[in-house]
Symmetry: C2
Subunit: 653 residues, 2 copies
């Protein structure tokens, strides 16, 4: 338990100087303004962190609502809505604001997400002019609260199988909303238990006796503070965290809403009861509607990354204050962060957090382009949906893992509620589940890769998709990812020719990229071949697809990690020379090599890593940790987390 | 997202029939009686699970105290104390009772641990007749509550560096207890904030101006419900979990206690102020005193394993009820546990839980032997301490990981407080920290391996230990673990001679054992050689030891996993033929192969796994998962968790 030797780890190595404000500018990028507004708001309402512990559940829910409304008044939460209704008209800025808000109390964050992202987003993206005019101005201020009633007790991930029914009654020109049983009650719905007046309800539309699939309707659930007739609401009660958000269950017993309550951007029912949609295929129509969810996933991904930043900031600052055990008699005890083991625990996580940050920048930019109409075609939307799903899964799992590691690294102090880990852990736990279960999301990513995000995919049901995948798409994938072609491309980039994977320097970013690209393409080709083999053997396509489920997840993960690595490398390359660039290049190496190290078994199994080189990578990761050690505090400070948000008086003072 | 094919995975394979009560008998073993008593008590006080959510913090703390006292009256919590004072006189049974209690509310568990394990254990093991007679009868009933005041804000793991001082005042024949500063205040002390009348205080003993190291004193901290003069107590406040335990901080301002307050089993101060101890070496004396902590570590290890059982029981039962996604149009949706991915997520965790259970049986038996005087020499104690540290680390990390995986596998329902995950997660989080930080414990294990648990180790301080390790011990280790000798031993056991690692069947338990034994010994030899090389190069021993810190952790983990594998294999071999044996043999294979799979990079790096065989192991793990799938519910039912403890109405009904 003696300390790492603090001497320079390599001859000639000069430790970079990091200018923290400059690095913050690199991280904040074009959204520095809105991020600073949110930082100011977080500091203004910092007491909400204490109130989460002190107030009773109802009082805290009301307090969170009040904070959300006050923040809304600063323009912070309405950035994603059109200016004509009082919004900021900047989708990218709305995501950046949400990411920054995640430095603070997460009930406030999730309340904002429910009100402006889910409820407001559904009105904006699924509704038309009449809905916009009627609801947007008041929901942007928070005066009109609403909820997003999609999930049911019986169905979360499989939205197409929801049980709630909306039958069109031609005589009265109304929809009749009905919950056919407890299985179909809406559940876990934020804002439902206490504050929402309106709900956007997802239900199976029935017109003239035939089902048209899931559509969304605006349904009043409270009138003048009282539950609306025919509506039953139950409180979901206390949760592991996020107790400032009033989640609840909703049942509808023949609730009638006018024909205009249908959010009719993609489909409508005429007064006479004729169903019409510009999108003929029901599956494509469904996935188009669901596509509006993508914003929520990008938002949660960014929030997860911010949660990791808060946890790592506390643990890093603690590790440069806390001493434990002497290296020699009669000497001072050593700082935790001077232990090689402690560096190994925290520093690769800091590197991965930076990597995810820059990848998130790219997904946010794509989202902004698609939703601002800068680049909005079917292919771009599919790509965005895949990337959003992927970074949501990796970003939120990262948050869960980082919070746990950092809590343990802060010992018993990390367990007291007065320090932030209790809240961080309980509140962020559900990030891996909401806005799409992470495993389900990675399967979407994997299927997208197999179909090359072909838009035909949307037209297909589960079985059709399997048939499609096992047909043309698989042949295409096998062709595109042939080892020969792949290696040809790599060979041109790296010294060593066919021996690139043995000759290139470990710190050559082209080598690191080649490794993660090779992994993705090799996995994808292998997956395609497995599927093709099964089909060629005339086995049931569903069973074939099921047997490769873990490969689908693995290739999806490899794909997202490749994108993340590329984003980090690109970012570093684009920076001007200086201490920040040098420091980020170290971090980028640490991220890339620790990523390869974590999956070194795969690389060895597939002939891309010799035993010697595998061990050399582990040594290099240790060496990089020693180089990053003196920069650690600057690196976490550059995230610009308001001091009051590092609420851990026992740990960081 | 289609289901696994449910057909038999291998020709000729016959699925075993498991008789659940028989399997429960295998698991409960000789302690079935006390375990059933605890099960009954858990059911009687099941309402405490709801009360944890419903009562305010003070009311819940009092309720937990009451439940503990009522359980104590049944004899459940006093098994570890001598019969003459009202105890059960059976150390092993006391651990078994504690393990079983961990199926229920964990505040009750930890309160029991504080009162009877830590406080009562210190009186019993560090005190002598006068302390036993004075305190044991009342503390066993719970009438006299006490706390164990060791940890300070500034020192947790490094107990030898505690700041609290106990100066002997010869004139008054008293000890004067003083807290020299906030750094030295006692912190996180269970029972301190509300219920304890006495504290066992660990302090630096000063006699006649010279320091004799850390000793323990009985100090009244409350008299008639009021804080004692000179004592200051502060509430640690709300925690991430365990809010039924009243943790607090204590300062002592010249508090005087009589000479007899020193727990004087290992050392005493004469009335005239002469320090005397039968153990000359101060380090050995210190570690002998600390050795009494071992019981707490074994208890927490067992509790962690029980927490994993509760989480896995809920997730498994949910996975055979919950359906999501159809495999083909117009078919019913599939059960979660019929998905290959879901099997991969849960079933290896069930296997590892069984493995840890049987390893815990062995450590508990060793503890029983040592503390019952059946086998109690220095070597046996050192081995026990090492094993207790190792299983505590692996068992509690297992609990943390399992609770997280199971919560995610239960989706949004897992997030509601009415289902048990919120409590399980928050309450068990600190298990990885208390009774010894897991990383620090694994370092103890690693050092024990390097010194072969030589008792001389105790005589040494940190630097002395390094010198010792780098001297004789390392040579011995290098000699003992030479690859040649190791392989010779393996060769005799397995077919294939020198090619055993390529020829033996994957399901041959001798092969599995050879693999984990090889890993441990190879890692240990490598570690010893690294240390020797550093010392031969005349580098600073502290720095050398620090640079290999991650290797120390790795070898410790490999050591414990080897012991766990051996325990499981031995258990299965000893069972009579039948369904239970067949089922456990499947689980044992699943555990052993998934353990090797998880570290397959290491095995490939060290020439013990070819690429082909590594892939074959992954296929075999999948195949074993399919075989275990139909047994899953029986396997979790056999743990005998009272139905009311699976408090998850939304998940398991």
């Amino acid at each position: 338990m003696a300390p790492e030797n603090a001497s320079a780890p390599a001859t000639g190595y000069v430790q970079p100087d990091v200018d923290v404000p400059s690095l913050t500018s690199v991280l904040d990028g074009e959204y520095a303004g809105i991020r600073d507004l949110v930082r100011t708001n977080l500091a203004t309402y910092a007491s909400v962190l204490e109130e989460a512990d002190e107030l009773g559940i109802d009082a805290f829910r009301d307090r969170v609502r009040d904070v959300v409304v006050k923040m809304a008044a600063t323009g912070q939460t309405g950035m994603g809505f059109p200016a004509e209704y009082g919004g900021g008209g900047d989708v990218g800025a709305s995501i950046a604001a949400f990411e920054t808000l995640a430095f603070g109390d997460l009930s406030v964050l999730v309340k904002v997400g429910v009100q402006f992202g889910l409820f407001g987003g559904a009105i904006l993206h699924l509704g038309t002019g009449r809905h916009h005019a009627a609801y947007l101005p008041d929901l942007i201020t928070g005066e009109l609260m609403g909820c997003f009633a999609m999930t049911e007790t019986g169905h979360g991930s499989n939205v197409q199988a929801l049980g709630t029914v909306a039958r069109y009654d031609t005589a009265s020109r109304e929809f009749v909303i009905t919950t056919p049983g407890d299985h179909a009650r809406k559940d876990y719905i934020g804002n439902a238990a206490r504050h929402a007046e309106l709900a956007v309800v997802f239900a199976q539309l029935e017109v003239d006796g035939s089902s048209q699939g899931v559509h969304a309707f605006v349904v009043p659930i409270r009138v003048g503070g009282q539950t609306a007739p025919g509506v039953r609401i139950e409180d979901d009660g206390r949760k592991m965290g996020l107790n400032g958000v009033d989640n609840g269950r909703i049942w509808f017993d023949g609730v009638r809403v006018p024909r205009e309550a249908l959010l009719n951007r993609f489909a409508d029912v005429s007064p006479e009861g004729v169903y019409e949609s510009a999108i003929d295929n029901p599956n494509r129509r469904f996935f188009t509607m669901l596509g509006t969810l993508v914003q929520g996933r990008v938002s949660v991904a960014g929030a997860g990354i911010s949660v990791a930043k808060v946890a790592l900031s506390i643990a890093t600052k603690y590790a440069v204050r806390r001493r434990q055990f002497e290296a020699a008699p009669d000497t001072e005890e050593q700082l935790l962060l001077d232990y090689g083991l402690h560096q190994r625990r925290l520093l690769p996580l800091i590197a991965r957090t930076y990597a995810l940050h820059f990848a998130q920048d790219e997904v946010r930019a794509q989202l902004h382009e698609v939703f601002s109409g800068i680049e909005d075609d079917a292919q771009a939307r599919r790509r965005l949906e895949s990337r959003a799903a992927g970074i949501k899964a990796l970003g939120t799992w990262h948050a869960t893992g980082v919070v746990q590691e950092c809590r343990e690294a802060c010992g018993g102090g990390g367990y007291l509620a007065i320090n932030r880990f209790a809240a961080l852990k309980g509140d962020s736990d559900v990030f891996t589940t909401f806005e799409g279960d992470n495993h389900v999301l990675l399967q979407l990513v994997g299927k997208g890769l197999l179909t090359d995000h072909a838009s035909e995919f949307e037209d297909l049901d589960q079985l059709g998709m399997v048939r499609y995948v096992t047909g043309l798409a698989v042949e295409t994938v096998i062709e595109r990812t042939s080892a020969h072609k792949l290696l040809e491309r790599v060979r041109d980039l790296l010294p060593g020719g066919d021996e690139w994977d043995r000759e290139a320097g470990l710190l050559d970013s082209e080598y690191q990229l080649a490794m993660v690209r090779f992994r993705e393409e090799h996995m994808l080709a292998g997956l395609a071949r497995r599927i093709k083999r099964g089909i060629d053997q005339k086995r049931d396509p569903g069973a074939v697809f099921s047997q490769v489920q873990d490969h689908v997840i693995a290739v999806a993960r490899a794909h997202v990690e490749r994108l993340v690595t590329e984003a980090f490398v690109d970012k570093v390359r684009g920076l001007p020379e200086g201490g920040e660039k040098t420091a980020l290049a170290l971090l980028c190496d640490l991220f890339a090599l620790s990523t390869i190290e974590a999956d070194r078994a795969w690389f060895m199994e597939h002939g891309r890593l010799t035993v010697q080189r595998s061990k050399a990578i582990s040594r290099e990761v240790n060496d990089l940790c020693r180089k990053v050690r003196p920069l650690a505090v600057d690196l976490v400070d550059a995230w610009g987390i308001p001091a009051a948000m590092l609420r851990a008086p026992d740990l960081v003072g």
